[in-house]
Symmetry: D2
Subunit: 209 residues, 4 copies
C-alpha cells in the first residue's frame, strides 16, 4: 500500500500508547460508549485539525468536517444531509452541551465563494452549490480592503450565517433557549496563531487565545 505506510506506522504508535501502555481510556470508551460534551463543526483543511488545535484526547470532541465548516439551513426531506445528520446525532442523541463552528484564515472554500462573486466559475459540480450556503457572507467585502481583510470579513460573516442556520433547526433552538446547549463561533488565524470568538454581547469577534 505505497504512500500510506507512514499512516500505518502512526497507527502503531497510537496502538502502543492507547492499547498497550495505557489501556484504561479506550476500555472505558468501549464499555461506556462516547459522551462528548462538544460538537465541533470544522473545516476539512489539513492545517486546522480540531484535535491538534485544541490538544484534545479521544472521546472529547464529536467532529463534523466539511469544506469551509458550513452548516446548511434546516431543510428536512429525503435528500442526503450529512452535516444535518451529524448535528442531529450530536444534539438529540449525544446531547452535547456546546456546538462550536470553527473557521479559519486562508479558507479555500471562502476563496472559491469570493471568486464566484467575481464571475470566476470553475467547472466544479459540488463545491459551487456547497459554498453558496454562505453566499451572503460575500456581501461583507468592502471596496478597498486588502485580500487578507476581505477574506477575514467573509470568513467571519460565514460563521454568523452558520450560527443562524444552526438556530433554524427546531431542536437546536429549543435547547439553546432552555440553556441546555450553547452555540459558539470561533475563528483561527493561521498566520498569527490566534484564536478569536464571536462575542454576541459585543457584536464582534474578540481574541480568546
Amino acid at each position: 500500500m505505497p504512500g500510506t505506510e507512514s499512516l500505518v506506522a502512526g497507527f502503531r504508535a497510537f496502538r502502543a500508547t492507547y492499547f498497550e501502555q495505557r489501556p484504561a481510556l479506550y476500555e472505558a470508551l468501549v464499555k461506556e460508549g462516547q459522551h462528548p460534551e462538544v460538537l465541533m463543526i470544522a473545516c476539512s483543511d489539513s492545517r486546522v485539525d480540531p484535535a491538534l488545535l485544541l490538544n484534545t484526547q479521544p472521546g472529547e470532541l464529536f467532529v463534523v468536517r466539511n469544506v469551509a465548516n458550513l452548516v446548511p439551513p434546516y431543510q428536512p426531506g429525503s435528500h442526503y444531509h450529512g452535516t444535518s445528520a451529524a448535528l442531529e446525532f450530536a444534539v438529540r442523541d449525544l446531547q452535547v452541551r456546546h456546538a462550536v463552528v470553527l473557521g479559519h484564515s486562508g479558507c479555500g472554500g471562502m476563496r472559491a465563494l469570493r471568486a464566484l462573486r467575481r464571475g470566476i466559475r470553475p467547472e466544479r459540480e459540488f463545491i459551487t452549490p456547497w459554498v453558496s450556503i454562505a453566499a451572503e457572507a460575500g456581501e461583507q467585502v468592502e471596496d478597498g480592503q486588502s485580500d487578507a481583510e476581505a477574506e477575514r470579513a467573509m470568513e467571519q460573516a460565514a460563521l454568523q450565517v452558520s450560527l443562524r442556520n444552526l438556530r433554524s433547526f427546531p431542536w437546536v433552538r429549543e435547547r439553546e433557549a432552555s440553556g441546555e446547549l450553547m452555540l459558539h463561533a470561533w475563528w483561527f488565524d493561521l498566520r498569527s496563531g490566534e484564536l478569536w470568538a464571536h462575542d454576541e454581547a459585543v457584536g464582534a469577534f474578540v481574541r480568546i487565545g
Copy 2:
C-alpha cells in the same frame, strides 16, 4: 464561556508549541498552502479521530467527518452535498493521491441503520435518510450472528458501499484508472485496538496494524 475553557487552554498549548516554540511548520503551511497527500473520510465519533489515531501532524490529512463515514453516490444537482464537495475539492483541487474511508467498530450510525431494518424508526429527520446510503449493508447480517459479528459485518459492508460510491464520481474513477489516486477502506476495532484494511485481491479485510 463556561465549559469550553479547557479547549481554550488546549489551544494555548498548541499555540505555544506550533507558533512560539517551533514556528517553522505553520510558516510553511501559510506561505505554501496545504498539500496533503491523503483524503480521509472518517466518522464524527469522538473516539475515532484520524489525527490521533494515525499520529499525524498539521498539514498531512484533508479530513471529512460525518456520521458513519459515508460517501453518497454521485448526484450532481443544486442540493447541498457537503461530503461530495469535500471529495471534489480534495481530488480535483488538492489532487490527493490517496482516499481512505475509515470505519470503526461500535458505530452509532450503523446501529441506527440496523434498528431501522428491525422496524425501529426513531423520530430522526436527518439521520434516517443519511444512514440509508448504506442500506444494502444491512443485508450482510446473517441469522445467528452475535451483535458484535453483525455490527462488524454491516460496518465493513458499508465501507464497500462507500468505495463503490466513490467510484461513481467520474473524476475519481478516471484518476483511479490512471493510477493518480488510490482508494482504501480501513476499519478500526475500538475493542482490540486493531486496524484492518480491505484487500481487493483477497476480497476480504486483513489486519494491517
Copy 3:
C-alpha cells in the same frame, strides 16, 4: 519482565513514531551526532522531567539529573565525580551555549537537608553528604516562615550555591566571561505550574512562565 511491560510498550510507540513514521530526525542525529545548545542540570524527581516540562524533542537538551539538582564545587582529583564529568563533557566537548540549573518546589533532597539542620539524621550513607553541598542554603530559612516559604527559600538559595559552584570550574568561568556560555537558575513551582528564573540584575527570582 513483570512491571516494565508498559515501558516497553511506550518504547514501541516511540519507535513507531521516530523510526517508522518520521525517521528523518534520528537519521540526522546518528549521522551528525548530537549538538545540543543547552545543558540542563535537573532533579531526579519523577515530577520534574525536563523533556516533558519544556516540551523538547530528542537532541535538544543534554541532561544531568541528580538528587536536588546540585552542582558540587570544583574538586579535581581521582574520585568519581559524575556531575562534574557531565558538566565537563557538555561545556568542553559539546560546547553548549546555556547551562540551566532547574530546581523545583517540594524537593525531597532539600527536605532532607532541612531535617538535618533540625538534628534529624536518618541512616543514609550518600544522601546526607550529597545534599550538604547546599548546606548554607539552610541558613536562608527564617523564623516564622511557613513550611512552604522555608522550602522555597532553601530551594532558591541552593540554586544560587549551584550557580556559584558552576563558576568555580575554570573552563565554565572563562566561557561565561567570553560570552560563549550563559548560566541560568530556574525554579519550577509544582503547585501553581509557574516557572521562575533568577534575574541577576534584580537579585531575585522573577516569573518567566
Copy 4:
C-alpha cells in the same frame, strides 16, 4: 534571555496542558507526592531521553542521568556521590520496584574510554576518572571488530559492570534477594531504533522492542 526563549515557550505548552487543561495529574502529584515504580539510570546524551524514549508521563520515572549511564561501586565516605545518593533515595526512600540501567549505541563516554585504552588522553579532569568506572568493559573489544561492533561490545559490557556495581550496595542486594527490587540492563540502538535487554538466563542481550 536569548537562546532559551524556545524552552520557555515549551514550558507554556506544558503549563497549558498540565495545569490549565488537565490539572488532575499534578494536583495528585503535589498532594500525594511522587511514587515512581522505576529508577532509570540513563546517559546525559540528548538523543536518549528516557521520558521520550519510553513515552512516559510525569510521575512515572525517577531518573538519574550522567555520562555513559554509569553506576559507581559502593564506596561510602565523605565524598560527594551524586549517583549513589540518587540510588539510595530511590531504593531506600521511594522504594522503587525496578532499577533499569539504560545504555545506548554511539555513546560519547564509551568512546572516551576506548580512546583512553589506545593511549589518547585528552586534557579532561573529570571525564577520564568517571568513565574509568567501566574500565574493564574495554577488555571486551576484540581484534578485528568494526568500530560499531567494538562500541556495542563495550557499551553492553559497561552495563554489566553497572549491574554488578548496583549489587555492591548492601540495600540493593538485600532487596533484590527478597524480590522487592528487580535490576535490568537495557541498550538502545540509535541507528536501528531497537531496544535490547540483558537476559540473565541466556547470558546475553536479547531484543525486547
